[in-house]
Symmetry: C2
Subunit: 261 residues, 2 copies
């Protein structure tokens, strides 16, 4: 049964075309989530003219004016409240969010630069990594975004079969592992399976109705569905915080060894 | 024995700090390759002020002024010679290149937005995908960049053990598969194993000497080393161009099934 508690949901999306499939999924999400009583906040990155490139202009005061080291400056800016206002606004939205949905077209098997630049800049040292000044003590299941849920909604040009278990592109969830595991679970979010729309350049009315229906179901289940069972760093599977214990997924290597079966 | 034929090598790199480890690897590459008689071309994306965001400004004439569909407009702009001059310059460098090396810091297990935006914009429809107007007939081993070699050189904040076969982040080459396989091999490049520099924020002189030596060896071997043995689409392993034949890597799924063993 879907949760009836009212929650805050942040939608972040990266497509400039108002009639795109990506934007259509955004509209459906707003309708569906608000109809459930949730509060929706939107970050329309193209519409906002989001600055995608992480550079020296991100640091208004510098711990080292001579040499730009991103980790040091990100940590300093975050700790001293001297981040740029646009980054602070996005972090405030994240703090208020119970769930975050990232919607984007899959370009070269990853995020558009616009979306990647939102991560690069907003995922600050001290917040999304280096949490509590404790190095990597808290990561993968714990950290600055613990307690939040996350989901990707991607539109894909190609057919589903190319992304299937033995499809030529590789399985979609493995291609997205750097994002789901490495970017969202890393700072503590619980990540739901990806909502994928294939053949997104050619969607007729009949197929769109089916996509909308499936999307509404995913959204209604946002706070109840089982997240991807990524192993937490500090739950016992990585005794040294670096490598899987021998007894965990014995003999297996690769990305899927980091998911409980 | 290293090849003695003179070649053209394009270095593309994304880091704004002149004293960064990334930039240091660029300098070593220029020296080493030129000493071998090769011609080196540099795309310093931060230095060039590269426009990372792919948007409506990329299309000076539009096949459809009403609705921005990237694939359609990219194909039209490429076919009609109406791409933006910055994109045309990068494609000219690529056409002239026998090998391309992408150098970047690994941010959230992928490219910085700056580098991703170089791919998003330069990898045009008709050139890097949709080659010869034939849909996906030519991809993975064939296409607009066939005959070229490619290599990634990444600097990584964390320790190597976290990226090992059972390391908590996942194995580095699997995290990079969307780039090596999906971005470079897709349009036909032969991709060499990644040159990775770990713990890149703290490199003392002794370790830097060892890194430099290993990097020079990789560079000298650029045209001779065995590429990653990705399976070609049209070599027989994907009879329907979508899924591995049952007899190929039988019973295996996931990214590694697409590499010959």
């Amino acid at each position: 049964m879907p949760s009836t508690t009212r929650k805050n949901v942040l939608l972040v999306y990266a497509h400039p075309e108002p009639t795109s499939a990506t934007r259509h999924l955004v509209e459906i999400a707003i309708q569906t989530l608000e109809a459930q009583g949730h509060t929706v906040t939107l970050s329309d990155l193209y519409g906002m003219g989001w600055k995608a490139v992480f550079d020296a202009n991100d640091f208004r005061t510098r711990v080292n004016p001579e040499r730009l080291a991103f980790i040091d400056e990100s940590g300093h800016a975050y700790a001293t409240g001297s981040q740029t206002p646009d980054v602070e606004r996005e972090q405030a939205k994240l703090r208020a969010a119970d769930a975050v949905i990232l919607l984007f077209p899959l370009w070269w098997f990853g995020m558009p630069a616009m979306m990647k630049g939102w991560i690069d800049r907003v995922w600050a040292f001290g917040l999304a990594y280096g949490y509590q000044g404790a190095g990597n003590a808290y990561r993968y299941g714990e950290g600055g975004f613990a307690g939040k849920r996350a989901m990707l909604a991607v539109t894909v040009g190609g057919p589903q079969i190319d992304y299937s278990a033995r499809g030529i592109n590789g399985p979609l969830e493995q291609l997205l592992f750097p994002i789901t595991h490495g970017t969202l679970f890393f700072p503590g979010m619980q990540v739901l399976p990806t909502f994928a729309t294939y053949n997104a350049a050619r969607i007729d009315a009949g197929r769109m109705a089916a996509i909308e229906s499936a999307w509404r179901t995913s959204l209604r289940d946002l706070f109840d569905a089982a997240p991807i069972a990524f192993r937490t760093q500090n739950g016992g599977d990585y005794p040294d915080r670096h490598v899987l214990a021998e007894a965990v997924a014995p003999g297996r290597t690769g990305l899927e060894a980091h998911i409980k079966t």
